[in-house]
Every structure is written in structure tokens, then in C-alpha cells.
């Protein structure tokens, strides 16, 4: 028992307990199952935040542990959303079409129903034909498989190409950013088959469950998101705690040495890159039904960079740091940009947070990078009185660019 996984990683247990308490408290305060102190829209916001926490864990694995600054994980997140969105939109449109056609004297044939659905969905982009990528849209199971498979396959192909040719560091970041840009530009086209910049909409309505009010559905999604986050956290903690985790940390710190020790660095990186893309896809598939709409703007490179911002502010190289960062920054962001924060009057100028929040965020990001590389999670170290030997900021290794002490103590 002493050597069990959870005992060796007490933070995992604490995190899971905190997550469970959070879920129970929100449920108890919700409109559907409790006192009604939390509005349905806020429950949705919290549920979405949990999904962002999950994708932040994926980002932390790939960046904080393996040192690959991927600027493409939000694209995988969006792809997962698109995959589930296709099923939601197809089934819901089908319900609408069938109910509108049931009044006709002659019952519709299957082909007529499909045509009518196609007309409904693709009318906005001036088409009525189903593109090939919608072939499985009528099957929930297949689309759920695609939620994992499509981001995973894209990550696998891209990662294979990139790691094989030893693209690393900043070059890889730029290349992933280019991939994200290409994907979002592609989806912006009307003939991409995913409704161009209209995106997919009406995703908050679950087909077949019209009877359930949104307040109940939002709690269901909160539970599902919490469950996914908990499982994702466990998986991530398991990955980084074993031998695999040691190797990827080794890759982060000095790729060449790990290679010379006989490890196939490319395979490790590729496996991690693909797994995290799948996790991101699942997070997206839970996020967008709560958001209700997905369009290509969500995939734009800036979103992936924000993901890196969350992880950095939360504290990279530890899983709970990533979740805290995603939750904290996205909630604070929506508080400031939603116009709820009070304006500050300086007499000669009034600071409107809607206008100034991004500047604060940007500068705080610089600040965190320069002075607090451990992010918010570093505060836990202070609380736990964990101190590290003070080497006055000197490099740990002999090479230029080797880790400095304050960031190397994971």
C-alpha cells in the first residue's frame, strides 16, 4: 500500500477530492438539483471551465513535461468539438425535419428526409449535398470514435512528419502554429463541408432529450466534464509518474543525451503528442455542446497561444497547476471582458476593463515568465515551505540554456 500509485502522488488524491467536492457543491447550489443559487448559464461556464482544465492538462503534458511548445492543441480541441457537433446538428435537424414532414399526406422516404436535412444544414453555404465527411454523422457511436480518432490521426501524421525530421524547439512551435492557421483557414471556406464561418450551431440541444430543460442538461454536462477531467488527470498523473514520465522529462531537459542513452526520442514524443491530442479532442467534444456553437474562429492560432498562457500562469510542469491556470485565467477573463468588473476612474481617464484587460493579461504574462516561472502553483510550494537550494540563479548544467534552478524542481 505504501508504494501504491496514489500514495506516491498525494497531490492527485487531493485534486480528485477537491474536484468531487466542487462538483457536489455546484450541484447542490444549481437550479435543477439544489438551492438554485447558481444560474444555469453559470453552471455552463463552470462546466466549460472544467473542459478547459482538461485541455490544459494535455497542454501541460506536452509542454511542461516534454518541452514541446505545441501551438496546435486548441485545434485538436476544436476538431473534437466539430466531430460531436456534426452528430448533434444532424440528429436535431433530422428531428425537426421529420416533425415538419409528418403533416404531409404522403409519408417521406428515407432519401427525402436526408435531402431535407442536407438542405437545412447546408442552405447557409448555398449547397444541399452532404459532403463525404458527414458520412457517419447519423451514428453517435461512430462520431464519438471520431472525436478521438480525428485529432489523434492529425496529431500522429503531423507529429510523425515533424519529429522524424528533428524539428524541435521554436521551429516546432511555429510549425504547429502554421498547421493551426491552415486548419482554421480551411474551415473558413464555405466548401470545406463544415458550413464555413457559420460553423455548427444549436449544439446545446440534445436530440431525443427535448423534454429535459437546459438547467438539468447543464448539470449532466458538468458531471460529465468533471468525470472526464478526473479521469484525464489520473491518466496524466499515471503517465508522468512512471518510467515513461522520466524519459519525457529527460527529453525536455536534454534531448540529445536521452537519445544517446538509447531511447527512441521520436517515438516517445510522437506517442505523447498523439495521446494529448486525443485528450484535447475529448475536452472539445464536452465543451462545445455546452457552448452551443462552434466556428473556425475558435480554432485560430491565438486560441492555442492562450492555452499556453493558461498553463504558464497556472504553473507548468505540474498537472494541478495547469488546471488552476485554465480555470483562473478563463474565469477572470470572462469576468473582466464581460463588463462585470467595475471601471476605475482616475479623474482624467476612466479605465474600462473591457478595453484594458488584455493589456493586463499580456503584461502579467511577461511578468510570470520573467519572475515566477512556476506560476500560481508555486504558491503551494511557499505554503508547504518547500525550499530549494539557492544557487543564485545559476544554470544547473554546463550548457548555455540549461535549466536554471527555479524551474527545474519538478
Amino acid at each position: 500500500m505504501k508504494n501504491s500509485f496514489l500514495m506516491r502522488n498525494p497531490s492527485t488524491l487531493i485534486f480528485l477530492a477537491a474536484l468531487a467536492v466542487f462538483t457536489i457543491v455546484v450541484t447542490a447550489l444549481s437550479e435543477a438539483f439544489g438551492l438554485g443559487l447558481i444560474s444555469t448559464s453559470f453552471v455552463k461556464t463552470l462546466g466549460k471551465t472544467l473542459c478547459l482544465g482538461l485541455v490544459a492538462i494535455a497542454m501541460d503534458l506536452v509542454w511542461g513535461y516534454a518541452g514541446i511548445l505545441s501551438l496546435g492543441h486548441f485545434a485538436f480541441f476544436g476538431l473534437g468539438g466539430y466531430m460531436i457537433g456534426m452528430w448533434l446538428m444532424y440528429e436535431r435537424t433530422r428531428d425537426i425535419v421529420i416533425s415538419s414532414m409528418s403533416d404531409a399526406p404522403i409519408p417521406p422516404t428515407a432519401e427525402e428526409i436526408t435531402d431535407a436535412i442536407g438542405h437545412q444544414i447546408f442552405g447557409v453555404v448555398g449547397s444541399s449535398e452532404f459532403p463525404l465527411i458527414w458520412a457517419f454523422a447519423d451514428s453517435l457511436v461512430l462520431q464519438l470514435v471520431l472525436v478521438v480518432l480525428v485529432p489523434g490521426a492529425l496529431a500522429f501524421v503531423f507529429g510523425w512528419l515533424a519529429f522524424r525530421s528533428r524539428v524541435a524547439g521554436v521551429y516546432l512551435s511555429i510549425l504547429t502554429q502554421a498547421m493551426t492557421l491552415a486548419l482554421s483557414l480551411y474551415l473558413f471556406q464555405n466548401d470545406s463541408g463544415l458550413r464555413g464561418n457559420n460553423g455548427l450551431s444549436g449544439l446545446q440541444n440534445l436530440p431525443g432529450l427535448e423534454a429535459a430543460p437546459q438547467s438539468v442538461v447543464s448539470i449532466w454536462f458538468l458531471w460529465a466534464s468533471a468525470l472526464a477531467l478526473g479521469l484525464g488527470y489520473l491518466l496524466a498523473a499515471w503517465i508522468v509518474s512512471g518510467k515513461f514520465g522520466s524519459v519525457i522529462r529527460g527529453i525536455r531537459d536534454d534531448e540529445a543525451r536521452v537519445r544517446f542513452l538509447g531511447y527512441s526520442v521520436e517515438s516517445y514524443k510522437l506517442a505523447l503528442f498523439t495521446v494529448t491530442a486525443c485528450i484535447a479532442g475529448i475536452a472539445g467534444a464536452l465543451y462545445y455542446p455546452q457552448a452551443g456553437i462552434i466556428n473556425p474562429a475558435e480554432i485560430a492560432p491565438i486560441a492555442s497561444i492562450y492555452l499556453a498562457v493558461w498553463v504558464a500562469i497556472g504553473g507548468r510542469g505540474r498537472l494541478y497547476g495547469a488546471v488552476i491556470g485554465a480555470g483562473f485565467v478563463s474565469l477572470v477573463s470572462s469576468w473582466f471582458t464581460g463588463g462585470q468588473a467595475p471601471d476605475i476612474s482616475l479623474g482624467f481617464y476612466t479605465i474600462k476593463w473591457v478595453d484594458w484587460w488584455l493589456i493586463v493579461l499580456g503584461l502579467s504574462f511577461v511578468f510570470v515568465t520573467l519572475f515566477a516561472p512556476k506560476g500560481i502553483a508555486g504558491l503551494f510550494d511557499l505554503a508547504a515551505h518547500r525550499r530549494w537550494p539557492n544557487r543564485h540563479g545559476a544554470d544547473l548544467g554546463p550548457d548555455a540554456g540549461a535549466l536554471r534552478e527555479r524551474e527545474a524542481n519538478e
Partner: protein
């Protein structure tokens, strides 16, 4: 003149398009100098007839209801008359058009070249057959060489389109073939317009046949059959919607044609029910595919030129082929020029990065924002200095100074703590980038600000109707080249360049040789940022200046540097050329979809990196750094 008018007074007063021709002909054929005045007055409804003696005059209203009358022959006033004693000639629009074309021959020979040019322009804009003769008649007497050439060209085009003599038309076509003018293509294309006609049996040979169409090959069977249906040569097909409607009409007691209504969601059940209705004579039968085949086989589908003369269409299509080949070659040239100008824009945007990223290895995500700052500096300068030429000349050094200062500040405050840690630099500079973008939004608003180029940069250098390039793009090309020269000069010929190269290769060794690496890094970063600012002024001249201006260029700029090969200015040049030409090339395949072009270009670059991970021009040996 009055006599002529009197002679035709009946026609003139009761003018209609069908009958007026002899009257107009009489006036124009009179060869009197007044003819033009008469026609102009007539066209503008200024001719009045005196009721007492039936004489025609040009009249001008002097006071309400009172008119001053002018005689046509003498031009003198002949007195004043009340409106009640006069009757106005009101030619309708058809007649006015006829008068107008009769007037053209006078206008074409008018003493005033401006009027002649106006008449010629109206012919070019709105050609018609009756203008051909007057135009021909006016060519020989044309004194102005330029106008004469234009008239001859218009005459050739009118000959092609309207001459009654077939050989003259063919001759004109062969004269003009090889000409790139849009007007020639606009004249030739209508000659080759076709329509598809259906004939039972052989098509008559008298028609000018373009080609025979075989259903299923040259024309889809569906389209061919639809033609037959429109020509009432075959029964219409019944589509599913009609079947549905017909079935709906004949429901009785829950059954149609012996089939229960609830079973009608199966296609076979529907077919059975409909067949039963047909058997009862309640519905039209849908022709079977064999019947459709038979109908199609019994008819000939022929594409016929609307132009009846075969030699003309043959000559026109040959000439057009030749022209299109030439147009294609010119378009290729145009494409190359487009690619060149896009490449110089990318080069301009990337050259600052080539210094900060390529030489120093600092990844600066705020580079795009430096471009934006340069553009906004240009905008602010234009608000203060209204003269565009002067303001641009002031803006360029000022933009350099502003972004140089910003770059130095950024290097001192942020980047120098993060040397050798590129990922952190990327994130920190990204934070600066979003802060700067939002700051620009707060100061200048979200709407685009204009940065107007000086008047002498307006317009384009036009080679022919296909190839043209705007002066701004030429200026940017020259600017890009001069930046290249400045870069090379600084890096190879100045103390700063030498020190920069030393510091980037080995900072400790450089420091031990008495070079201050901090100072050198600061200045080099400032230089790269300053160049980005100047590029911003240039880019602002043709793009709208918004806070997101830099965003549009940042990924492409990094791509340019990475594809070209880091640390080598020639690589950046090659990268910019490759990306620019590639993007224009892909756009050429699908001009309406620039998004797709960008997508494919990025995918191409990702694949390209596979084969040359270090770029087109890779550094070798010690300079490569590892």
C-alpha cells in the same frame, strides 16, 4: 434648310421611328453647314413651329411663355413669339436615337477634337451598324494622328461586327488577330456565341453549325432530354416531387392505387402505387429509360452559331485562339509580376525578423506589432503634415526611430533575461504582442485608418490590357531591394555588423575581445525592430492600417525566415520569393478562393520543411551553431 424642312414637314411634325428616315436623310444629305445645328436642336427638343405660317425655328425661352426665335439659315433672330402661337416638336426616344446616329457623322468631323473624341467614345461604348458608314467617312479627313488611329481601330471592330460584306469582315478579323485589346475580344466573343437546337432527322446544312452533340458525351442525357421536352418533342419526366403530389391528390380511404398510405415511405411502394394510378389513367406515365434512349436517338442535337456566316465564325475562332494563347502568355507574365510583388512584401515584412530571429536567434512574436506601430506612425504623421510626399519622407525615419526605441526597450526589459531560452522568449513576447495590439485598439479604435500614398504613386504601369502593375508595388519592390542592400552593408561593412556576427557566434569570446555583448544585442535588436517599423509604413500604404495589421504577417514572416534558412539573408530572400510565387501560383488555379491558396501554401511549407529542415539555404559548419 427651311425649304427642306418644309418639304418634309408632314413627316417631321408627326414623327415616328418607322417613317422619319427620309426626313433625316434629306437634312444630312443637304450638305449644308446648318444641318448639324438643326439636328442638335431637334434632338434636344428646341425646334418650334410657328402655327401661323408653318415655318420651323430654333427657339429659346426668354420669359415665361415667351420665346425668341432663330432662323436656321441665317442664324439671326427673327423675332419673339408667344407660346400659344408656337408648337414644339417632340421627337420620341426612337426618333431621337436616329437623329443621334445621324449626328455622329457631323460630330466625328467636328472642328473641336474634344467633341470628336466624345463621339468616338460613344461609338466604342455603344457600337451599332449604322455608325459604320459615318465613321469610315470621317477617317480620311481626321487631322489628329492619335484620334485617327483610334478611329481606324473602331472602324475595324465595327467592320467585324456589322459589315454586310463577308470578305471585308474576314479581312478585318485577320488584320486584328494577335491584338490583346479587351475591346477586340468583346467584339469577337459574341460572334462565337452558340445555342443548342434539336432537329428531328438531319439538321439543315444552311445553318452555321459549330458541332454536333452526342447525348451522354458532349451533353448530359438529362440536359438533352430536357431540351426535347421544352421543344415539345417528348413527354416530360416525372420527378419524385410530382409523384408525391400526384399520389397525395388520389388518396382515398387511406389507400392510393391499392397501396396503404403508411407504406408509401418505401420507394418501391411508391412506384407500385404510381404505376397503378397510371394504369387507371389518373396520372401521366414516367418515360422509361428505354423510351428516353429512343427519343434521344431519334433526334439530332446541334450547336449552332448565332452568327450565320461560316467564314466569319471560322476566322473569328482562329483569331480568338491565337489571341487567347497570347493572353495566356501575358497572364503568365502578369502572374510573375504579382508573385514578385507579393514576394517583396513578404521580404519586407520578414527582413526585420531575419535580423532578430535569423541572426540573434531571438523569437519575437511582437514583430508584427512593430510593423503595426510603423504603420500607425505613418498615419499620425499624415494627420500633422498634410502633404503626402513630405509626410511619407518624414514618416519613414520617424517610424524607424519609434520602433527602434520600442525594440531597445523590449530587449532591455524582457528579452535579455531570456537569452538561450527560446520558448520563454516566445511566450513573453507574445504577451507583449497582445498588450500592444490592445493598446493600439484603445488609442486608434478598431476601424481601419487610411495611410494615403503620394499622388505620384497612384496609378499603374500598364504594358497592355492584360499586364499592369501599380506604382506602389514597384516602389515596395525597390524598397525591399534597398533594404537588402542596407542589411548587407550593415552586416558586412560596418563595425556593428562585425560585432553582431561575433556576439551571435560566441558571446564569451567576443566579450573577451573587448566587445560589449549587451550593447551589441541591444542595438541589433533595435535595428531589426526599426526595419520592421519602416516596413510597416510601406505595408500601410496598400493595406488598411488596423491593430491587427501585424497579425496578418507574423506567421508568413516566420515561415519566410524558416523556409529560407535561418541566419542567412539570401535564404530569407529565397524564402520570400518561394512563398510569394507559390501563393500566387495556387491562387491562379482558383482565383476566387484565396483562403484555400493560403491553406495549401502552409501545408506545402510543412511538407517542404520535412525535406529541408534547415531551410533552402542552410548554414554549414560552425556558423550553424550546433
Amino acid at each position: 434648310m427651311q425649304d427642306i424642312l418644309q418639304e418634309h414637314s408632314a413627316l417631321i411634325t408627326k414623327s415616328s421611328r418607322m417613317t422619319i428616315a427620309p426626313a433625316i436623310a434629306a437634312i444630312t444629305d443637304s450638305e449644308l453647314t446648318q444641318a448639324q445645328d438643326v439636328l442638335q436642336a431637334w434632338q434636344s427638343k428646341d425646334i418650334w413651329r410657328r402655327t401661323s405660317d408653318g415655318l420651323f425655328f430654333r427657339a429659346e425661352e426668354t420669359a415665361a411663355g415667351s420665346y425668341l426665335l432663330f432662323d436656321f439659315d441665317t442664324g439671326e433672330t427673327v423675332g419673339e413669339a408667344q407660346k400659344t402661337d408656337l408648337k414644339q416638336l417632340k421627337p420620341n426616344s426612337g426618333v431621337r436615337a436616329l437623329i443621334g446616329s445621324a449626328l455622329v457623322q457631323f460630330q466625328l468631323q467636328d472642328g473641336d477634337p474634344v467633341r470628336r473624341l466624345a463621339a468616338l467614345t460613344s461609338i466604342q461604348r455603344d457600337p451599332s451598324s449604322e455608325l459604320l458608314e459615318p465613321l469610315r467617312a470621317s477617317i480620311d479627313s481626321e487631322p489628329d494622328a492619335d484620334l485617327k488611329a483610334q478611329k481606324q481601330r473602331a472602324e475595324r471592330l465595327l467592320t467585324i461586327a456589322y459589315d454586310t460584306d463577308e470578305s471585308a469582315r474576314v479581312g478585318a478579323i485577320s488584320d486584328m488577330s494577335g491584338d490583346l485589346g479587351v475591346d477586340l475580344r468583346a467584339t469577337l466573343n459574341p460572334l462565337l456565341e452558340t445555342k443548342v437546337q434539336v432537329f428531328t432527322g438531319e439538321a439543315p446544312n444552311a445553318l452555321n453549325i459549330a458541332r454536333r452533340l452526342a447525348p451522354g458525351e458532349d451533353i448530359s442525357t438529362k440536359a438533352a432530354y430536357d431540351l426535347l421536352v421544352t421543344a415539345n418533342l417528348a413527354p416530360a419526366r416525372i420527378d419524385q416531387a410530382e409523384v408525391r403530389a400526384t399520389l397525395g391528390v388520389h388518396i382515398s380511404e387511406g389507400r392510393v392505387g391499392g397501396v396503404a398510405v403508411e407504406d408509401l415511405n418505401q420507394p418501391e411502394a411508391r412506384a407500385r402505387a404510381y404505376a397503378a394510378l397510371v394504369a387507371q389513367g389518373l396520372a401521366e406515365p414516367d418515360p422509361t429509360s428505354a423510351e428516353i434512349e429512343a427519343h434521344l436517338g431519334a433526334h439530332q442535337f446541334v450547336e449552332i452559331y448565332k452568327e450565320p456566316s461560316q467564314p466569319v465564325t471560322t476566322a473569328a475562332s482562329e483569331a480568338l485562339d491565337k489571341i487567347l494563347l497570347k493572353v495566356g502568355m501575358n497572364q503568365a507574365l502578369d502572374l510573375i509580376l504579382d508573385g514578385l510583388s507579393l514576394a517583396s512584401i513578404y521580404f519586407l515584412a520578414a527582413i526585420g525578423l531575419a535580423i532578430t530571429f535569423g541572426v540573434m536567434g531571438v523569437i519575437n512574436m511582437a514583430h508584427g506589432e512593430f510593423i503595426m506601430m510603423g504603420a500607425y506612425t505613418g498615419y499620425v504623421v499624415q494627420q500633422i503634415i498634410p502633404n503626402h510626399t513630405v509626410s511619407i519622407l518624414v514618416a519613414i525615419p520617424l517610424a524607424f526611430a519609434v520602433t527602434f526605441a520600442a525594440g531597445v526597450a523590449m530587449e532591455r526589459l524582457v528579452i535579455r533575461w531570456l537569452y538561450n531560452r527560446p520558448l520563454e522568449t516566445l511566450l513573453a513576447t507574445f504577451g507583449i504582442s497582445i498588450a500592444l495590439q490592445q493598446l493600439a485598439k484603445n488609442i486608434f479604435g478598431t476601424q481601419a485608418r487610411p495611410l494615403t500614398s503620394p499622388a505620384w504613386l497612384d496609378g499603374a504601369w500598364v504594358m497592355n490590357d492584360v499586364v499592369s502593375i501599380s506604382y506602389i508595388r514597384i516602389a515596395i519592390f525597390i524598397l525591399a531591394l534597398s533594404f537588402l542592400a542596407i542589411f548587407l552593408f550593415i552586416m558586412r561593412r560596418t563595425r556593428l555588423g562585425l560585432e553582431t556576427r561575433a556576439v551571435t557566434q560566441n558571446p564569451r569570446m567576443a566579450a573577451s575581445m573587448g566587445i560589449n555583448p549587451n550593447r551589441v544585442n541591444m542595438l541589433t535588436f533595435g535595428l531589426g525592430s526599426g526595419i520592421a517599423g519602416v516596413a510597416g509604413v510601406a505595408i500601410g500604404l496598400f493595406a488598411k492600417v488596423t491593430s491587427e495589421l501585424g497579425n496578418d504577417y507574423i506567421v508568413q514572416s516566420f515561415m519566410t525566415v524558416v523556409v529560407g534558412g535561418v541566419g542567412n539573408i539570401w535564404g530569407t530572400l529565397a524564402g520570400a520569393a518561394m512563398i510569394g510565387f507559390l501563393q500566387k501560383g495556387i491562387e491562379w488555379f482558383n482565383p476566387s478562393n484565396t483562403l484555400a491558396a493560403q491553406t495549401f501554401m502552409i501545408i506545402f511549407i510543412i511538407i517542404f520543411i520535412q525535406f529541408r529542415p534547415r531551410g533552402i539555404i542552410a548554414l554549414k559548419g560552425r556558423a550553424a551553431g550546433d
